[in-house]
Symmetry: C2
Subunit: 348 residues, 2 copies
């Protein structure tokens, strides 16, 4: 690594990124499933362009402001996979978006369908189904009724979607993928034939090609410590790390200057810590403050020196990217580009 950057700093290995993009694009194409990657992971126009060049059908976004930013950058087919509530202000923004790009929006209640229909008559929507994550979405058996209500209200129903978020846990991927397929099958039976859209990086390889017409993984572009610990990516797939400096040491522990304000504080109950270290796979981040990662090494392993620069793999890369203004892109350890995080803080 020949980088001399102020730490902490988010860096992306452009070669690993490119391989990750190609691998997922080829896998989806090979199985006949359209790929509509979730842009909330990278929030980055340069990466989204490459996804489209490699065959993606369009982008998935999480918020109206993400949709606006990617529409401004020329992307013309956007799925807002979120149960949007069209307050007057947001309704005007949705109308403006729908007039300039192909916009799909999620619905999970008759009330929101009616409000969206008043806001944007004829808007294209997908009915959100709960396949086991129990966050938003209707029960699969209720999808047909909601589609009817949406149609009656004046929306254009294009199909059903789900997010199998319950795949985020040890050994849960197969079951979540099966439940995703079952939920989409049951839900779609109540509608005219259309889109059947599902997740997700942990389930991507297990997704049913018989059921899904489209999938929306996000994290695969970079990988992260959660995917490593779920076994759904390998160390070689890690494209994004946070460069950080050893600032303190004591016994078999040391402190890095990358804390929650750059890594994010996400920690699932099954995670072994607050992130992993490329250069010390046996190390664990046992505590995280805003500007301190406390790293523990197994007894007998030499502790790095003060001033050493190490690469941290964040637990959940989507939140790390959202904390950075730009991504420093490298190839063979040399900086080759800087990409703005165009949709940073695009929460509204």
């Amino acid at each position: 690594m020949v980088l001399d950057l102020p730490t902490p700093c988010v860096i992306v290995d452009g070669d690993v990124l490119e391989r990750n993009l190609r691998t997922m694009a080829e896998a989806a194409a090979g199985r006949g499933i359209a790929l509509r990657p979730h842009a909330k992971t990278h929030k980055c126009v340069q990466i989204a362009r490459r996804q489209i060049e490699l065959g993606a059908a369009g982008l998935t976004v999480a918020t109206v402001s993400e949709a606006e930013i990617f529409a401004d950058a020329g992307f013309d087919d956007l799925f807002l996979a979120y149960p949007i509530w069209p307050s007057p202000q947001r309704a005007a923004r949705l109308r403006a978006l729908a007039s300039r790009v192909r916009l799909l929006v999620g619905i999970d209640s008759a009330e929101s369908a009616q409000a969206l229909a008043r806001a944007v008559p004829g808007l294209e929507v997908l009915v959100e189904v709960d396949s086991g994550h129990h966050r938003s979405g209707v029960a699969p058996g209720a999808a047909g009724g909601l589609a009817d209500a949406a149609d009656k209200a004046g929306l254009t129903v294009r199909g059903v979607f789900t997010f199998p978020g319950h795949a985020y846990g040890p050994d849960r991927q197969k079951r979540a993928a099966d439940e995703e397929a079952a939920a989409l099958t049951e839900a779609a039976a109540g509608l005219a034939p259309g889109l059947r859209s599902g997740g997700s990086t942990p389930t991507a390889a297990l997704t049913s090609a018989d059921v899904l017409t489209e999938m929306r993984p996000g994290v695969y572009v970079f990988g992260d410590a959660q995917q490593l610990e779920l076994g759904t990516c390998s160390w070689d797939d890690i494209a994004l790390t946070v460069l950080s400096t050893v600032v303190s040491r004591s016994g078999n522990r040391f402190i890095l200057d990358a804390g929650s304000k750059i890594l994010g504080a996400d920690r699932q109950a099954w995670a072994t810590g607050f992130g992993r270290l490329v250069d010390h796979p046996d190390a664990r981040i046992v505590a995280l403050s805003e500007h301190h990662a406390t790293v523990a090494l197994p007894d007998g392993v030499p502790v790095p020196r003060l001033g050493d620069v190490l690469r941290v793999v964040p637990n959940h890369v989507c939140t790390t990217v959202n904390l950075a203004d730009e991504l420093v892109v490298t190839s063979a350890g040399t900086e080759v580009d800087r990409w703005p995080v165009a949709a940073r803080n695009a929460n509204t």
Copy 2:
């Protein structure tokens, strides 16, 4: 509340903020302890100015870039309470800072003291002591030896400091404050008389006025759900909330559009959830995704309507502020100002 803002959105009640600033300033003055508030909480020039107007001795900052931003804004007495490692790049920035403001820097090893002395000869430093948080800092009994090494290396030792971070837990504040006082007393005994600087919002009221010459609380300006649940602030002290919209509901649960990308994902083991709701004190945020807060209400409590706008109290306000570009300042429910988060993402 007569605000019509896109949600989620960080708002600050300017009247509560002013009361919090005054209360802490008066309490510190009344006890004869200098107040050097930690600016990492608000990262905001307007709030820092008010702290100085109300008598603060200077500011505490966490990073060199925070120091640079507040120095640029005219603050001339800054304590960088962090075990800085002066890489060549950072050394040049420290020299530039020390040439234009009064700069104090933390040290916790002879090696970093020697490196700092080479980088900025004569730099004023405080020796960091571990009072029980076990993050950085030397044992109290080692402070004198480190001070001697720093002095010999060419630094100007001004005293000792600690952060009693182990006060963040139920019923731990008294013990942490006692340990803070004991650690600073023992450490200071090995040095020439000087500063004895301690935390922190949870311990502020319990801090020993006999021992501490200075304290560095941060969170008190806004309060947050952690302080509420520790009992170290009340609902009336909450100055910062995140406006958010109900977008989905099912049974006794509903979904708000404020997720980890605006609230932050901090959740201590003893916290009852991922934040609290001003308008529903009995509610708990039982799950948090990037753009979804899943809120559970007790059985029988009416669930808010779709489109309702509610105020979320984040668990850890420092990370919430760092996720916002600006703070919308209100008085009596009306927007009165917008303050940039000047030191957002100032991690280096």
